[in-house]
């Protein structure tokens, strides 16, 4: 690791060495190095192999813009090592090579296939024979491309998102950005400043006087109250002036009244043969290597520049002891032809108008392009400035400003030619786009093939679509187009700038690793019972406690207990509660007696079934409404939405989480409930579909005698905090009756035996009341209600399909979603199916053609690819007359 003597501008802490591995070898750098600077100091010159041709590539921008230094660091692919801070023990590997960076077997592509790989090559070549495409694709993907993503990779840290509001957000922490932030903060605004570099100061940090000026400005900004954030990269400017800022493991979503973009410029490469050779660099790269990392970039250099940045590089190179062979200032003299020559991919000389200059570094830079991308995201227009040969942002939207070089204050650089290719001999490829390996020849071919619009050509050649996202190729590709089509850059225009401005890791966008789950108050009791928990919407529920069929049998024979706290529970109360429900449900609720329960189904105005549940009239002006487990929020939104128009005098209160609910079901449930309450639980005292309030196990409860699972049963609703106590007491007091818990799967078997439907399982977004075989819900003797007209329309047009029960031999078990077939045609589908021990058959629900919806009709259901006979039934499979339920 050879370094220059200590410099005032360097970022190194020479007292601290940092060791890491590169391709398995141990390499040392200093604290303050980037991986790239440490490798360069250690003598590494080739950093990557190019996308398509596998040409050797070295550091070009040293600013984290270009694709040339992308490596895999600790299994994270495509890390730009020139900007990646060095850390102890990092494992750094080259990517997209077979062999090594120095001897990549795939570089044969450059020599052999080069002339035969124009844009669209893969699609033109590998179309025959067609069936081989999957094989071709596999080979091509392996040969061309970037790093590999490990599909089993874990998150590499803790990621989070933060929202912040400020009056003014300044993007870019160079001199102009710091000054703008100080001005805004001095005016009393809350101001944040973000800069993607590890230290604010921008190009000031490249000179000794600049460093002290930068630190002074930064100090002044902090004193003025500016929140100065370094290593914080703004990745886009979205509507509402939302600016997500990538801070590594934290994504800050800034909202600002005013966004000031001070993002500086991006140096542009010149286009000439051999312009991608290792050792052809932009001025920033040379300046950073010398000033930040105290490395001598080369022994001898030729500098070609359109403005002062190249001259500044000359000074730095001289200070570092690099011999300057020649300086070509395009403002004074413009050569006709430039060509870089090299050996093994590294530059050894440059020919300028035929004059050969031996050197191992070529600093080449065209005019600096303002970084307008964020402004364009916000809707700014971009205009070509022919005098300076760059695109300048104009027509900034309200609240978005730009100052400094990003706004176009870049002095008067020379306008470089579209390319400096020698007229006759072709000494090599002239790259316009390094990311995608596109040369001037490729672009010319695309134009000749008719891709004459820049947006079309971009998609065809993929120029500007690589990792640099056009930072180093957008301007040059437009120049090439203008030159080739003999038109102006202004008429060619720019391609659309879209976020993100820089690559963002998906784990940062994903944010915190958590999956929201809703648990009932009994969750931990279920786990103690050995429940297998499953997701039902956001809820976690016990699928079973180990034996679903056995659990169902307990409900049939003794008494079972299930946690139904997940049911949506809504209190609808107020003088117009009845009127409101009459209007929103197809059923009648106004004529219900106090203390009675009715099943209700909600339909949309299109007549589609939305949700179902029970409604208990607690008092003349108060109804207790239950919904499906996943439907509560949707039903409340639905109620509130209609009432926003109707404005009935009614309160709609969500008590889903406030109340727990437990269903006690089975022939012994009456006996068990009687032990827990003073309430008259006799068949006459507490009838089927009665709702009563009472203390159960000492807990104030609402009892609903309903029967989703088909046996005598009571749904008990009570405040959630009592749930564990309630559960334990019921199990204890019913032990001699054989009480046991049952899960969701047992409940699904039991309800299917009664042919009770589950909304969303047996119905879908097209199902209506009549075809779902629930015409009795519909009460046409009342006034208008939601869904009336469409349901009446279905009635008039006639039913086409019907939801019916079917049963078949217990040896057969069709799939849910399986087809009903008729003469080889699919005419319906199965929605629910189970083997029922109580019935002794396979039973299910299915949509069948309306003409098959008759008791005893024979249908065929596909089982294992073969039709199997089944019989339609319109009655429940179990306790068809409901005697057990009403007992």
């Amino acid at each position: 690791m050879t370094r220059l003597p200590p410099r005032a501008t360097e970022r190194l802490d020479r007292s601290q060495t940092v060791a890491f591995t590169f391709e398995g070898r141990t390499v040392q750098g200093y604290a303050g190095d980037t991986i790239g600077s440490a490798l360069y100091a250690a003598g590494q010159r080739i950093f990557s192999r190019s996308f398509k041709y596998h040409r050797p590539r070295g550091l070009l921008c040293c600013s984290g813009h270009c694709p040339n230094c992308m490596m895999t660091v600790d299994d994270v692919p495509n890390v730009r090592v020139c900007a990646e801070p060095l850390r102890e023990g990092a494992a750094v590997r080259a990517q997209n090579v077979i062999g090594s960076l120095e001897r990549d077997l795939l570089s044969v592509v450059d020599r052999v296939a080069g002339p035969f790989m124009p844009p669209g090559f893969y699609y033109k070549t590998f179309i025959r024979p067609r069936r081989f495409w999957p094989l071709y694709e596999k080979l091509l993907r392996g040969a061309a491309g970037l790093g590999r993503v490990d599909p089993h990779a874990e998150r590499t840290g803790r990621f989070d998102t933060e929202d912040r509001r400020v009056d003014t957000l300044v993007v870019g922490g160079g001199r102009d950005g710091l000054k703008a932030s100080i001005a805004a903060a001095s005016g009393g605004e809350s101001v944040a400043l973000v800069d993607e570099n590890p230290e604010v100061g921008g190009s000031l940090l490249l000179s000794e006087t600049g460093v002290s000026q930068a630190r002074k400005l930064c100090e002044q900004a902090r004193r003025a109250g500016v929140d100065v954030l370094a290593s914080a990269r703004a990745i886009g400017l979205y509507e509402g002036k939302l600016v997500p800022v990538d801070c590594g493991e934290l994504l800050i979503r800034f909202r600002a009244e005013r966004v000031i973009v001070v993002a500086g410029t991006a140096e542009q490469p010149l286009v000439f043969p051999g312009n991608d050779l290792v050792g052809v660099v932009l001025p920033q790269a040379a300046r950073r290597l010398v000033n930040h990392w105290a490395v001598r970039p080369a022994e001898s250099a030729v500098v070609i520049t359109a403005d002062d940045t190249g001259l500044e590089a000359v000074e730095d190179l001289q200070a570092a002891g690099t011999k300057i062979v020649a300086v070509v200032d395009l403002r004074q003299r413009e050569p006709r032809a430039i060509a870089a020559r090299g050996r093994r991919g590294a530059v050894t000389a440059v020919e300028i108008d035929g004059q050969r200059l031996a050197c191992d570094l070529v600093v080449a830079s065209g005019s600096p392009q303002p970084n307008y991308a964020l402004l364009a995201h916000a809707g700014a227009k971009v205009e070509h400035d022919p005098a300076r040969g760059v695109f300048i942002p104009t027509e900034l939207p309200a609240g978005v400003e730009s100052v400094g070089a990003a706004a176009g204050l870049i002095g008067a650089p020379a306008v470089p030619a579209a390319s400096y290719e020698p007229a006759r001999r072709r000494p090599g490829k002239s790259f316009v786009c390094l990311c995608e390996d596109q040369t001037t020849k490729d672009l010319k071919l695309a134009i000749n093939e008719g891709f004459d619009s820049i947006e079309l050509s971009k998609r065809y050649t993929t120029v500007t679509m690589g990792p640099c996202q056009g930072r180093l190729c957008h301007l040059n590709s437009i120049r090439t187009y203008a030159a080739e089509t003999a038109s102006s850059e202004a008429s060619i225009g720019t391609t659309t700038a879209r976020p993100p401005w820089a690559p963002v890791s998906l784990q940062l966008l994903a944010g915190r690793a958590h999956e929201p789950a809703r648990r009932t108050a009994l969750h931990h009791r279920h786990r103690e019972h050995g429940a297998e928990m499953i997701w039902t919407g956001e809820w976690r529920r016990p699928y079973s406690y180990g034996d679903p069929a056995g659990e169902a049998a307990v409900v049939h024979d003794a008494v079972g207990l299930i946690d139904v706290s997940t049911l949506g529970k809504i209190l609808v109360a107020g003088p117009e509660a009845a009127a409101f429900l009459e209007r929103i449900y197809p059923n009648r609720f106004g004529n219900m007696e106090e203390g009675r329960i009715r099943y209700g189904v909600l339909t949309s105005d299109a007549g589609r079934i939305m949700d179902d549940g029970t409604l208990a009239r607690l008092s003349p002006n108060e109804y207790y409404v239950t919904t499906t487990s996943t439907g509560a929020e949707g039903v409340i939104e639905w109620f509130e939405w209609w009432n926003a128009t109707w404005q009935h005098d009614v309160e709609i209160i969500n008590v889903t989480s406030a109340l727990a609910a437990v269903n006690i079901a089975g022939p012994s449930s009456r006996e068990l409930l009687g032990r827990l309450t003073d309430l008259d639980v006799t068949a006459e005292g507490f009838r089927y579909l009665d709702a009563k309030r009472a203390y159960v196990a000492g807990i104030p409860s609402l009892l609903l005698r309903i029967g989703f699972v088909g046996e005598l049963g009571y749904e008990v609703h009570f405040p959630s905090p009592y749930a564990v106590d309630f559960w334990n007491t019921v199990l204890e007091r019913g032990a001699d009756l054989g009480v046991d818990v049952f899960g969701l799967e047992a409940q699904r078997i039991l309800r299917l035996e009664k042919a009770h439907i589950i909304i969303g399982q047996d119905t879908d977004s097209e199902s209506n009341l009549l075809e779902a075989s629930m015409p009795w819900i519909l009460k046409l003797d009342k006034d208008d209600f939601v869904g009336r007209w469409s349901t009446e329309h279905v009635d008039r047009r006639g039913l086409m399909t019907r939801l019916v029960g079917f049963e078949m031999d217990a040896a057969q078990l069709p799939l849910e979603g399986g087809q009903i077939v008729e003469n080889g045609r699919i005419v319906g589908r199965v929605t629910s199916v189970r083997r029922s021990e109580a019935v002794g058959r396979t039973i299910g629900l299915a949509w069948v053609p309306a003409e098959s919806a008759q008791e005893g009709a024979e249908i065929d259901i596909q089982v294992d690819g073969r039709p199997a006979p089944a019989t339609v039934t319109l009655k429940p499979f179990y306790d068809a007359e409901g005697e057990r339920l009403r007992a």
Partner: protein, 90 residues
């Protein structure tokens, strides 16, 4: 969609906190013909410009309100509570 929306209760909030059910539709007052019914249920103006819409502050105060939004620019021209007109009986 990352613009700010002015909730009549809560003030300007990020649009991600809300849901919208789209443009305001006019429900027939009497039994509609088949054509009127399908127009009401399935057809939308889909204006390229100013549009009156329903919005709901789902991750906030749970209020339904109306917004006037330019669908081309997402500029919100105003928001308001639904008009307090009493419905006809029934």
């Amino acid at each position: 969609m990352t613009f700010l929306l002015l909730c009549p209760n809560c003030g300007p909030r990020a649009v991600e906190e809300f849901i919208t059910t789209g443009e305001v539709t006019v429900r027939p007052t009497a039994a509609p013909s088949r054509r009127e019914l399908s127009r009401y249920i399935y057809f939308r103006t889909n204006a390229a410009g100013s549009q009156r819409e329903w919005w709901y502050h789902r991750h906030g105060c749970e209020l339904w309100f109306l917004a006037e939004r330019d669908t081309r620019t997402n500029e919100v021209l105003g928001t308001e509570l639904p008009p307090a007109t009493r419905p006809e009986a029934g």
